[in-house]
Symmetry: C2
Subunit: 110 residues, 2 copies
DNA sequence: GATACAACTTATCTTTAAGTAGCTTAGGTA
DNA sequence: TACCTAAGCTACTTAAAGATAAGTTGTATC
């Protein structure tokens, strides 16, 4: 989003990371994992409105973006822990900014 | 996003404004209108990959959220100007934060 | 032998977002 | 008379995202 003029701005850096922000649950996941490392089940219980299938997809997506870590313990039953990466922490200001805006917005909408 | 614990956080303030961030073109529109007031056609020409129908929808959506103004001049052919509202300006930090993150992200992804 | 556990898959269905194409309006110009 | 303009609207189609429900795995306990 550096170039106001070009007709096609495929080079816009924001375009590349927009998917993170456009996923319905990504922000919530990042919020919880920013607070603490969590197992799949723990996270799932914090977000009961999200199905396991969806949560799996979203976690994989965030992992592929390098925002979260996925640590597997070879056990039975399985144990998998999720945590934010350094890059994931860099993302937090976006969430904070949105949260701040939301607060202002709700206050005005009375 | 204030409450880490509750099972259902429908009261999360972010949920209410998430739609703004989840629209594919809303950020781009806000970016351009933040720079200057623009007519529909001018904006459309800056975003040639967006059809007029879609642009109309998105502008109406942003207007309904109170982020942009729509000023109609009763002329023929019609003239309509779009600009950001005070609330719209409050939204800018979100875009800035995302832009900053995007820059860091692209740099690392090399 | 049946049931339970955690962390998934897989398949299918529904919803939402986005894209495409053509129509409209009212006055001005060729 | 026909065509052009700006800023739409309408109807339709396609694609993407999300939701639902059931099945899988390998131990371990009842």
């Amino acid at each position: 989003m550096k170039e106001p003029n070009p007709e096609v701005f495929a080079d816009c850096p924001v375009a590349g990371v927009q998917k993170i922000v456009r996923g319905k649950w990504n922000m919530v996941i990042m919020y919880f994992l920013h607070q603490q490392t969590l197992r799949f089940g723990e996270l799932s219980r914090k977000m009961p409105m999200v199905t396991q299938a969806q949560l799996t997809k979203d976690l994989r997506m965030l992992e592929s973006y390098g925002l979260i870590n996925r640590k597997v313990y070879p056990q039975v039953p399985p144990k998998v822990e999720y945590s934010t990466t350094a890059m994931g922490e860099q993302f937090m200001p976006v969430l904070t900014a949105l949260e701040r805006f939301a607060t202002v917005y709700e206050a005005q909408a009375n």
